[in-house]
């Protein structure tokens, strides 16, 4: 930029609850500054990820430099730094926010403030950002701007009377948003002559140029030919290109303090340029990296298996490809008695898990079987060792376990007041500990609970939706690991322990879960010549039991001239089913039985 001046730069992001119109507003802002035409937008920008468009959430960031001539006649460089809109990506959000001085808070003018709105505002606030409220969907007949303004002011404590009232969809009052950003968001500070200090807030992988970090420059300047250092990764790279997003990539001669852009430096792996990393020059480096860097830890795990065995290698290839763009996805090979060869994958959260599964199925055309999700437990042994366990089979014998700790989250639930009782019941059954409750207005309350992560990864969100007629909104953040009365529950079929069915479960939940599993197995295992006992056990004691009665009669009584072909087909079908069974001692267990226990489904 020839007319570089910190005064004319504004760095901002957009925060919102799911569906409140964040992506639409981002699109509209880019389009209205002439970055791209609507058609180009569709082709170049938004096609990046169908899934995001469909689900109304942002997974990878959309960042753009917008050149805007304001009403005061001056030309501004407005850097929009998009944030992923979901709790799973809280850390990524916080880093994106750290790259900005302000945040547009988009609130749906009819829905009002929701759980995620608050969570995101807290995040922005803790980064010291100026919060600029915007009322979206003002064109809807159900819009109630005055009430929502009061809500924003009461709950969030931000003055909102002047908030632009817009429709991102129709483009109504979009210019007001730019003016508001210029007026409210502070210009960045920083010294272009100081040693280089830049923050990576996202990265992506380009097949030809390698991993490309997206950076915000706080001090100094970076240009082609510089040797830069990734301070946490402790690696140096020679810069071959710097540029900005328009949102298409465009090379510039340099990026200076206050600006946002990308750099290319033949970096092989996105894991070398993780979000939160500090970039400086190899020569004349800064002494301290920027605060707050942490490696994203997977919190939720599940096994992904090919529905067809021959897809095993294809799944690995696909996971590797996704990992190029997603440093937080982990996977390792795993073998299951029931499902064969597959991968145990780690995700930041439930949504992250769902997105990866969907992308594998959709973009790579894979047919997957996903096991029920689990969390990672911390086990302290009697020898004082600390183990991280996410597969129950790796749990040491009971006598060597001193304690087991499980992850606990702090959740925030917003519901209309008629459903408070239902939500409290739900939280109770999920081992929740009540923290507090505030009324947002005369209709809605916000409840906070401590909940074991284990209790919400299964089907909490669906349960919440069904108990609040879809009105409940939910958000959580990781809080801590806490000792808990967790036990390993085993399942025995005909007195034989079947590894694949073992789970780690809270002692209070064990009986109910054990009963559920043996009931499901009873339905899924066909009757055989002998009665088959099914047991759930903790250590040596049986906590639930079912018996599959012996098959007494299985014969086609009538088999005359016209019945023979039909009878043969019937037997062929039975034979097909039998091929998919696994033998445990004298008992045959169909794959369906494993799936009914292991598979992630909503059926209760």
């Amino acid at each position: 930029m020839s007319n570089y001046s910190l005064e004319n730069i504004r760095n901002f992001s957009i925060i919102a609850h799911i569906d409140h119109g964040k992506s639409t507003l981002a699109d509209r802002l880019i389009e209205s500054t002439g970055g791209l035409s609507q058609r180009e937008m569709k082709e170049q920008v938004l096609d990046n990820m169908d899934l995001e468009r469909e689900r109304g959430i942002t997974i990878k960031l959309q960042t753009a430099r917008l050149n805007y001539r304001a009403k005061d006649g001056r030309d501004y460089q407005l850097n929009l730094i998009d944030t992923p809109g979901h709790v799973d990506f809280t850390y990524e959000v916080s880093r994106s926010l750290a790259a900005c001085e302000g945040a547009l808070l988009v609130v749906d003018a009819s829905q009002g403030v929701e759980a995620q709105t608050i969570a995101n505002v807290y995040l922005a606030d803790s980064q010291g950002l100026e919060i600029v409220p915007v009322l979206n969907k003002i064109d809807l007949p159900s819009a109630r701007p005055e009430e929502v303004i009061t809500e924003i002011e009461d709950i969030i404590g931000v003055y909102a009377e002047d908030a632009p009232r817009i429709s991102a969809k129709t483009g109504l009052n979009i210019a007001d948003v730019f003016e508001e950003v210029i007026e409210k968001v502070p210009a960045p500070s920083g010294d272009p002559d100081a040693p280089l200090k830049a923050l990576i807030f996202d990265s992506f992988y380009d097949t030809y140029r390698g991993a490309i970090p997206m950076i915000r420059i706080f001090d100094g300047e970076v240009k082609k030919g510089d040797v830069v250092r990734m301070m946490a990764a402790k690696q140096d790279f020679e810069v071959t290109e710097v540029g900005v997003f328009t949102p298409a990539m465009k090379t510039v001669s340099s990026l200076k303090a206050g600006e946002v852009g990308y750099l290319v430096a033949s970096i092989k792996d996105v894991r070398l340029v993780r979000v939160g990393e500090t970039v400086t020059h190899a020569e004349n480096p800064i002494k301290e990296p920027m605060p707050g860097y942490k490696k994203a830890q997977p919190m939720v795990f599940c096994g992904l298996y090919p529905a067809e065995g021959e897809d095993y290698d294809n799944i690995r290839d696909a996971l590797e490809k996704l990992q190029l763009n997603d440093a937080s996805l982990t996977f390792e090979p795993e073998t299951s008695v029931a499902l064969g060869f597959g991968y145990r994958c780690g995700f930041l959260g439930l949504l992250h898990m769902e997105i990866i599964q969907e992308r594998l199925e959709r973009e790579f055309d894979l047919d997957l079987i996903a096991t029920a999700p689990s969390v990672i437990y911390e086990v302290i042994t009697t020898k004082g060792e600390e183990l991280w366990i996410q597969n129950p089979t790796n749990l040491p014998p009971v006598q060597e376990v001193q304690s087991i700790l499980e992850p606990v989250v702090i959740s925030s639930i917003i519901v209309p007041k008629d459903y408070i009782g239902n939500v409290m019941d739900l939280a109770q059954t999920r081992r929740g500990t009540f923290i507090d409750m505030h009324f947002i207005d005369e209709r809605r309350a916000r409840l906070r609970y401590e909940l074991p992560l284990n209790e919400i990864i299964y089907d909490f969100f669906d349960a919440l939706k069904s108990r609040t007629r879809g009105y409940g909104s939910f958000d959580y953040e990781m809080d801590r690991y806490e000792p808990s009365d967790l036990v390993k529950m085993d399942i025995l079929i005909n007195y034989e322990l079947i590894d694949a069915f073992s789970i780690i479960v809270h002692r209070d939940k064990a009986v109910a879960r054990g009963r559920q599993i043996v009931e499901r197995l009873k339905d899924a295992i066909p009757r055989q010549q002998i009665p088959i006992p099914l047991q759930a056990a903790i250590g040596g004691s049986i906590i639930a039991r079912e018996t599959i009665r012996a098959l007494r009669k299985d014969v086609l009584a009538k088999c005359y001239g016209g019945d023979i072909s039909r009878k043969k087909k019937l037997l062929e079908k039975q034979k097909e089913g039998k091929k998919r069974m696994r033998q445990f001692g004298s008992v045959e267990v169909p794959q369906q039985a494993f799936l009914s226990v292991l598979k992630f489904d909503d059926e209760k």
Binding site: R552, D554, V555, L556, A557, C559, G562, S565, Q574
Partner: protein, 370 residues
């Protein structure tokens, strides 16, 4: 091999009323429709004339539907129209239901050469008969047996149904049946079909009750001098159904009439399922064949086991080897296992199921299937 022997089955699909459980191809129709059907049937018979003329017809079977529902006039028309050769068969069976048994019809059958009657009594309890939608009473059932004997038929089968449901016990019916001394008894559990009205009223009977009722019937019949010769069939010595044994020994058979099935050498075929399609094909001068399947050697070998094991005498293994070669290693291993479990009995060179094995026949067959 008796390649020359042929069984003939003739399907007479008409009923006065359709029973609430029945899933067979059967229709309620007026005399005119029935008469046209007999015409069509006789056309089909002539389509096969050149094939049948060269063979020995060993058995002839008229099944339904309710063959006895045909009027005396149509019965005579049918018998007159069929080739004389058909009536040279050693065993000629005709199915009847009690309500349509009359001395007049019986004498027409006798005259034509029918020597075996199969009577669909099903039960001797009126409330069970009501439930099943049968249009005869227990008393009529008993009377029908007397009429048949009176008319001089020396070979009588009675069908009996069991496993109808809790509250519909079979014991009394079995005792009543035995008193009538039929020469042959076929006994079937009630099967419920989703699309038939009875399935709306009754729950399927659990297999333990079905096994228990069958075991009662079995013991009662054995005690009264009957021999079980097939999964569902019992007979006084010398009275086993030759026609039906033909199905299980895979003798060729020609099925005539709507929905009838045939086994001719290495192929099976089945006829049109509707009267209209059946009529249209024959009007064009075509055989009314709906589906034709060529059986591979493997198909035939498995059928020999699947069907032969239905007989208490089981399968002649030397004949099996002669036709299809030795059993596979896997099959032999399974047979050893089932013998240890008491499901299979291997005597000399015959392979047969034990009574327990007959109850669990599908388990055995699925493993013997390659």
């Amino acid at each position: 091999m008796m390649k020359n022997n042929l069984g003939i089955y003739i399907h007479l699909p008409f009923c006065k009323e359709k029973c609430s459980y029945c899933d067979f191809t059967s229709f309620c129709a007026d005399e005119k429709t029935q008469s046209r059907y007999i015409d069509d049937l006789l056309k089909e018979v002539s389509c096969y004339r050149s094939d049948t003329e060269q063979r020995d017809i060993s058995t002839l079977y008229f099944g339904g539907g309710t063959p006895s529902a045909l009027s005396p006039f149509l019965l005579e028309k049918l018998f007159r129209g069929l080739p004389k050769q058909y009536f040279s068969a050693e065993e000629i069976t005709f199915e009847m239901n009690p309500e349509s048994v009359s001395l007049e019809k019986l004498s027409i059958l006798k005259e034509a050469g029918v020597n075996r009657i199969s009577l669909g009594i099903q039960s001797f309890a009126d409330r069970t008969l009501d439930l099943l939608g049968r249009i005869h009473s227990a008393e009529e059932g008993v009377a029908a047996v007397h009429h048949i004997r009176q008319a001089g038929f020396k070979n009588l089968n009675v069908d009996l149904m069991y496993a109808i449901g809790e509250g519909y016990p079979v014991e009394e019916s079995v005792r009543n049946l035995v008193k009538l001394q039929p020469d042959h008894i076929s006994t079937y559990p009630l099967e419920l079909y989703d699309h038939r009205p009875l399935s709306k009223i009754l729950q399927p009977v659990d297999d333990a009750l079905s096994a228990q009722e069958f075991s009662f019937i079995h013991d009662e019949l054995i005690a009264n001098g009957y021999v079980r010769y097939e999964v569902s069939n019992f007979a006084k010595p010398g009275f086993a159904s030759k026609h039906n044994i033909g199905y299980w020994e895979r003798t060729d058979y020609l099925g005539l009439g709507v929905s009838a099935h045939s086994l001719l050498g290495s192929h099976r075929h089945s006829n049109s399922l509707t009267l209209a399609a059946y009529h249209d094909a024959l009007s064009r001068g075509d055989k009314p064949i709906e589906e034709r399947v060529e059986l591979t050697r493997e198909d035939q070998a498995f059928e020999m086991l699947m069907l032969g094991l239905r007989l208490t005498d089981g399968v002649d293994l030397s004949l099996y080897r002669e036709r299809y070669g030795d059993l596979s290693k896997g099959q032999k291993k399974s047979i050893m296992k089932f013998r240890d479990q008491g499901l299979i009995d291997r005597r000399k060179d015959r392979l047969a199921l034990t009574p327990e094995g007959m109850n669990l026949m599908n388990l055995v067959l699925v493993e013997l299937m390659e």
